[in-house]
Amino acid sequence: MRLLSLDRRIIYILVLLAVGVPLLFRVPLPVKVGVETRKVHSAIDNIPHGSYVMLSFDIEASSLPEVKPLAEATVRHCFQRDLRIIGLALFSEGAAIGYNLLVQVADEMGKVYGSDYIYLGFRPQYVSAILGMGESIEDVFPLDYLNNDWREYPGYASLGNYDDVALVISIADGSLPTYWVEYAGSRYNQKIAACLTAAMTTSYYPYTVSGQLVGMVSGLKGAAEYETMLGYSGGGHRGMLSQSSGHALIILLVIVANVAELRKRK
């Protein structure tokens, strides 16, 4: 069968066209909001104004295109609700990514460093860091990312440990939410939500069923869902047409390849 010996580069070109061409056209697709996204949205919505929310940027640069729209939507929601954000990173690569993203959204929404948000930066040994913050955030992060004493900022003088944090959101492309659940959730009863790459979704469904995660938003589709709930169109919505046409092509290729394989066996 000639189909089964098709040059892989032809498939690459087809995928490139299926994903790239729709980006040239801004055709909005309807987005149905899923249950898990609603859970995260309502968890943030139900936090009283002025409460502390911890955003942990547990990501590497390689997953940025997928995670950035998710993180952006979550940060926007927290700022809209006047929640005070504590940003940090448990992967070194996430340190600058998280800081830049927070500053960008904060500038757009007129939020001020020190009263509306702070960024603590990176700390190695994530297990020790997560456990340590249960006793004292100050001990783990004596200075913020800019090497200033963050306790002198007016909005953060009363911040002690997880008892003062309403929700931890782990923005992750790996297994870090599991550690948040194990060490902050189980040990300190800290509420945890996750913003994940789509590839991680199936691994975390058991944690949402058991209530160990209050909810999760995953992938570009999750970002589009969250944007729909917030009423704006961002990176998630922009990618939906390309995502759909890319998926349609992959489904078509899987069917064609299977039919060709079955015919070859006959």
Partner: protein
């Protein structure tokens, strides 16, 4: 006008994508550059964001010389670089392994086993509950190797493989979704930031 950072990012993106055609020196250059930059960046972040505030700043501002103990233990890890000193690195390693095991075993047991087992004991009054209970029992039967998989045990194990297939299929689908998203991000960068073809 496109800035220098965008031009460099565009060139490196094309170098990496050139691998789709075949292995070539441009791809290898970009790959090695990524490894080098990642290591360099992480080193700077750790020095600036961890060693400075946790060691240097503590000693200089409050005279807390106790932090020299963990710092010295950390430095002992470098003893591995010289064969005759390498035994010294066992001390910090032993501490890390001891701490890791002591802390993680009860936490993992609680979060990954006990809590998950209790959440799989669902009410059979709902379809979700039935699917979860049947799925857990049949999938675990598949991994029960102390008895030959025949009769009821065999049928349960067979059912378990179907649940596993559904899981693998869903994971594959989500992984495709993830990879397409990454491609969208790169193409959006090329079309919008580099060439200004879309707004």
């Amino acid at each position: 006008m496109t800035d220098l950072a965008t031009i460099v990012a565009l060139a490196l993106t094309l170098c990496i994508l050139s691998f789709l055609y075949r292995e070539n020196p441009f791809y290898r250059f970009a790959e090695y550059l990524l490894v080098g930059v990642s290591v360099g960046y992480s080193t700077v972040v750790i020095c600036r964001n961890s060693i400075y505030p946790l060691v240097i700043e503590r000693i200089s501002s409050s005279g807390d010389i106790l932090v020299l103990i963990p710092a010295a233990l950390g430095l002992l890890m470098f003893a591995r670089l010289k064969r005759s000193w390498s035994g010294l690195s066992r001390l910090p390693l032993a501490l890390m392994i001891g701490f890791g095991a002591g802390v993680s075993i009860p936490a993992m047991l609680q979060a990954r086993v006990l809590k998950q087992v209790s959440s799989s004991m669902q009410s059979l009054a709902t379809l979700d509950g039935i699917v979860i209970v049947v799925g857990v029992i049949s999938t675990m039967s598949y991994f029960y190797f102390s008895r030959k998989q025949e009769g009821l045990n065999g049928r349960l194990a067979k059912l378990g493989t179907y649940f596993l297939m559904v899981f693998f299929g869903a994971t594959f689908g989500f992984t495709v979704m993830s990879r397409i998203s990454l491609l969208i991000g790169r193409l959006e960068f090329i079309l919008r930031d580099a060439f200004g073809l879309v707004s």
